[in-house]
Every structure is written in C-alpha cells, then in structure tokens.
Amino acid sequence: MQQLPLAGGTSVNLMTRPEQARTVDESRAAPLEPASGRRTRVGAAAGVAVVSLALLVVGTVWSVAIGPTPMSIGAIFSAVLFGGQSTTAAIVHGIRLPRAVLGSLVGANSAVAGVIMQAVTANPLGAPEILGVNAGAALVAVASLTFLPQIAGVGLITLAFVGATMCGVLVLVTAGLGRGRSDPVRIALAGVTLTTLIFSVMQTMIILVDPSTSALFHWIVGGVNAATWKDISTILPWTIVGLVGSMALAGKLNLLGLGEDLARGLGARVGQIRVLGAGLVIILAGSSVAVAGPITFIGLVVPHIVRRLVGVNNYVVIPLCALVGANMLVYSDIISRYVDPPSEVPSGVVTALIGAPFFIFLARRHRTSR
C-alpha cells in the first residue's frame, strides 16, 4: 500500500471514492502498527533469555575445554566442583576459568554501557568505544601504569573513570551538544577522531616504556587472554554496582526514550537522568577497560541486536544486553583461540572484526540532521 503522509490524508479522503478512502484509512492506521510492536515482546524476550543463558553455559564450558592442553568435560567438572591438585585443576582454576568469567563480566559491562549511552544521548551510534570513553580510560590507565607503576586495582580504576569522563565530555562539547541540537553522525565522527588522537599518544607512551608487541596489543585492542582472578575481583564490584544501577534507572530511561519534551512533560528530570546515566557508563566502561583494555564494538552492536529482537523496554533490554554481551565476548575469545593454535590473537581483534561491518551498516543507515 502506498504510504500517504498523515497530513495529506484528509484531503485525499474528500476527493476519492469510498473504497479508495478505505485504503487510505488503512495506510493511516499503519503507522500505529510499529508502535504496538515496540512494546516488549514477552515471548521473544523469554526466548532470548533462555537461549543466551544456555549459550553462555555452553560457551563457558567450551572456553574452559580448549587450549594447548586438551581436557575432557568430566575432568573440567571435577576440577571446577572439587578442585584438586592435578595439573588439569591448576590449568582450569588458574588460567581458563578466570578467562571465561572475565569475558562474561567485561562483555556484560560493555553491552550495558552501550545501551545506557544510546538511551542517554538519544544517539544510535552512542557507545563507549565510539564516543571516546574507552580511549580516555585506556589512556589514563596506560599513563598511570607508566608514571605510577605500583598502582593497581581500585586506584587504577578510579583513574580510568577520570579519563573516561574527560574524553566523553570533550567529545560532546566538540560536537556541539552544548548548543542544543545533537547530530548523531557528527558526535560519532568527533568521538572516533578523538579516539585516534588518544591512541596515538597512548602508543607513543607504550613505545617509550615497554616496547613489546604484547603490551602494545593489549592497550590497543584489548582482550581477556591473560585474565586472572585478581582482575575479576577488581571488576566484579563495579559490574554489580553498574548493573543494579542500570536496572534502577531503566524506568527513567524508558521515559527519556519517548523524547526529551515528552519525558519532561511526564515529570522526568531529564538532566538528572542524563548525569546518572553518564555516571553508570563511566563505571561500566571504565572498569572493563582497566582490566581488559579497550575492547571495541560490543557496546555498539549488542544493544541494537537486542532491541531488534525484544523491543525497547529497558527493564528487559538491559539484562538481556548483559547476557548477549557476555556471550559475544566469551565466543570471541573462543574464536581467538581457533585462529592460530596453539598461539592466539587478542579477543578484541575478533570483536572488532565482527563489529566493524555492523558499524558501517549503522553509519550508512543514519541520516544526518540538518
């Protein structure tokens, strides 16, 4: 059916015969259809939840099972459940399990940071890696490891938060958000350019301090390849705070999704929501960069996929994003080990290769506002 604009509908009605008028009426009704489709699809949400939970369990077991030393499923379960002194148990506990767990946590963090960023900036291209937040966190992390080598854990994470905040604000200011209208493409472009700049400075620092390829790759692409339990205990509190906070903010983010004016009309304090959301993004993104480096494109890709599957209700989208994001990184990490066994590539390379085509698709799709 032809899609007549609503405003033109009445004039068409006056001039056409009844049956044609009916088709016009149908086409007028059509725009309402997607609106009802935008509500949560309960069945789809339950399906996504079950499937991604199952995949996550399978992925974790798979991730623990592969590596230079082959292991049977039975040996893994006994090692996980009962511990023991065997080599298998040592490898599982010391190397492979932390890797899978950290992958889940960092993936969940990045994806949820992406959802909130997209909601707060009303920008489909909003994601910590696009808007320079990851780069800022990584820069400050590298700088503090360079100049204060004894720093670790909480101190490092706090500094990463500071870097993330500064760069995020800088991008928004450069792109002219302060002047009212925000153009998604322009903000994304500013963020990507600032990221390039920061990475240049960062790589220079790395070359001066630790000119080894592995250090370079860790801070350029990121990865959970060298995860330890210490990393997990560093990031876990922030993941919990971030996820709980995000769920608490979900209702307000739903209001914001109606548009700034409507949200204001319904009594939401838009500025306050934005600041709280930005704080959550910084906690989630900053903490994952501090332990795993700037892993890209999870925060951009996952929210779009989840919203397409289940609608836009953030109460549903946020937890599902956490699950799907965890899956994405765990499976990327698995792929990273199949590329060139027995050596491996940083898992961030895999997420970048998966996510970059999606970025192209989003960049193409979005209209530049005038």
Binding site: L189, F217, L353, I360
Partner: protein, 349 residues
C-alpha cells in the same frame, strides 16, 4: 561545501596586488622552510650532526662515519618524507575538491587503511612476493575500500560530508581490525607492527624511495594537469556541465588518480594519517582556492609536515623512535575536530 569555495569576492585592485605579493612571500617562505627543515632533518637522528657534516656527506667528502649514517639512514627517510608529504597532500586536495567535502582525505575516507590492509597481507602472508608489487596491491586495496565507502555512504541520490566521513572511518576501523589480525596472526616485530598501525619511516632504504618515486612523479603532474577541470567542477555540476565538462568522467578519473597516489604512498610509508587532510586546508588559506595554485603549495606543506613529524619522531627520545604517523595524528586530529565544528555551524552540510 562552504569551506571549499573560499570567498574570493573581487577585492579592489590595490588590495589584490598586496594580496598577490603576500601570497608570493608566503610561498617563498614555505620553500625556505622546507629546505631548512630538510637540512635539520638530515642533522637530527640518534646522534646530532652539524650542518657541515651534512654538506660533506652529501658531496661525498666526508671523512668519518657521519657520512655513512647521513647518506645511508637519514637521506632515504628525508627523501621519502618529501614523496609521502607531496603525495598525500595532493591526493587529499583533489579528493576534497572532487567530492566537494572539506572533511575528505585519504585517511578519513578509508583509502589509507584499505591500502594498508592489502599491503600488510602481501608483506606478512606472502613474504616471497616481490616488493615492486606492493604499491600495485596497495592501490587495489585503496580503491576497494574507497568504493565500499562511496557505495555505503550513498543514499537517496546524495551523500553528506559527515556521513561519507563516518562511513569512511567505519571502513577504516574494519581495515584496521584486519591489519591487527594479520599482525598478530603472523609473527612480526614491534617496528613492522607500528609501521602498519601508525605509519613509520623507520628503517627505510633507498629501495622504498625508488619504488614510490615513479608513482608520485607521474601521478602528481597528471593531477596538476587536471587542475583547470577541477576548478570547473568546483562551480557545481550544472554549471560545469554547461561549460562542456564531462562531469562524471572527470570526477571518476581524478578520484582514481588520487586514490592511486595515496595508496602508493601508504605502500611505502604505512598508514600515515591527517597530512592529506590538513595540508590542502592550510594551502587554501594561504593562496586561495584555485587548484592550479594551491595543489603545489599543499604539496610543499605536506612535505614540510612530514619532515617535521619524522624529525620529531627520530629526535624526541633517541635512541627510541616514535612512528611519524603518530606525530601527524597529534597535529592533525585536533584540526579535524575544529573543521568538524566549523562545518557543523554551516548548516550541517
């Protein structure tokens, strides 16, 4: 589009004269700066030599090891800086003119990283391939990336500067991920990794100079020959067509030549960013928007930028080396952000 058509609104004759003189002075100053920077760049390395050493080395009358160091290590790099700077700047200027997009440049619209990816595949995955092939392969990669960008950014009969740039950056990110993949997949050392990630002239010999020279020596004059037609294109499609210009054909040929030029440069020096963006803008500021005038000036500015970047890269923290591409990024990225903010004010175009 506004930034391109720099408002040359018929000034009074007296002011016109003084402007002409000012321009000539600027160009002369630029040439002097390039020469001085060349000598400085030859002097500065892990060890700093005197201008006398440089002259002795160049005339072959050197008595100590300085002659060997200068001619064997410094000279190829300085010569390469010239080629790379000229190539990138002219290519960037042509791209900005043809696409009528002030944000266009080889590294913004994906050409640099596309060419880099193709070159990395050849260098790392097929080490037996002859190195003369490298610019050709890089050209293939650059063209492929550019076509991908153009097709993806083209929607409903038009493409806005910002969207073209964003799609270009996205394609660049994809190619960068590919480069990273090959770097970690095939055993490589830090210096080669950095060459392809950030652009570095570290360890270049005269061989790479001779490999790129024909491309720059042929393509740059060819593009300059097109400068009148580029001026016509800048009048807008309708007017240019009315003046008898085959618009689409000229656009395709010049773009292809510009992509070839920047790809060849990438094959020799790695993925150096932002020179192709910044140099043409500065040149237009200095001498106005006529292609025949500003493309050569942009070439000089590009060479100057590269010389400064490479000298900083070598001389800042000897004996370590910073990739020169990082220096150009640090100089160029803020300029890009400034341009972005400026084009934003002009109504989103």
């Amino acid at each position: 589009m506004t930034a391109l058509a720099t408002s040359v609104s018929a000034p009074p004759i007296a002011r016109h004269m003084s402007r002409e003189r000012r321009r000539r002075l600027m160009v002369i100053g630029l040439v002097v700066a390039c020469v001085v920077m060349t000598v400085l760049s030859l002097m500065i390395g892990a060890v700093i030599y005197s201008p006398g050493d440089v002259i002795h080395a160049l005339t072959g009358t050197s008595h100590n090891h300085s002659g060997v160091v200068i001619t064997k290590f410094q000279l190829p790099r300085v010569l390469l800086c010239w080629l790379v700077g000229i190539g990138l700047a002219v290519a960037g200027g042509v791209m900005q003119g043809v696409i009528r997009n002030p944000l266009a440049a080889p590294n913004i619209i994906g050409v640099t990283h596309g060419a880099g990816l193709a070159a990395v595949v050849v260098v790392l995955a097929i080490p037996s391939a002859p190195s003369v092939l490298l610019p050709v392969v890089a050209f293939g990669g650059g063209v492929a990336a550019f076509l991908l960008v153009y097709v993806a950014a083209y929607r409903k009969g038009a493409t806005t500067p910002a969207r073209l740039a964003l799609v270009g950056v996205a394609v660049g990110a994809l190619c960068q991920a590919g480069i990273l993949f090959f770097l970690v997949r095939y055993p490589s050392n830090v210096s080669s990794a950095l060459t392809w990630l950030a652009g570095s002239l570290y360890g270049r010999t005269m061989t790479s100079f001779w490999e790129i020279l024909p491309w720059v020596a042929i393509l740059v004059p060819l593009l300059l020959r097109y400068s009148h037609r580029l001026d016509t294109l800048a009048l807008g499609d309708d007017l240019a067509a009315g003046l008898g210009e085959p618009v689409e054909r000229t656009r395709r040929i010049t773009l292809l030549l510009a992509v070839a030029l920047s790809s060849a440069v990438v094959a020799g020096a790695g993925t150096i960013g932002f020179v192709g963006l910044v140099a043409p803008h500065i040149a237009r500021r200095l001498v106005g928007g006529r292609h025949g005038t500003y493309l050569p000036v942009a070439g000089l500015i590009g060479a100057l930028l590269m010389l400064v970047a490479d000298t900083i890269a070598r001389g800042a923290v000897p004996p370590l080396e910073i990739p020169s591409g990082m220096v150009t990024s640090v100089i160029g990225a803020p300029y890009f952000l400034y341009l972005l903010a400026k084009t934003g004010k002009a109504g989103g175009q």
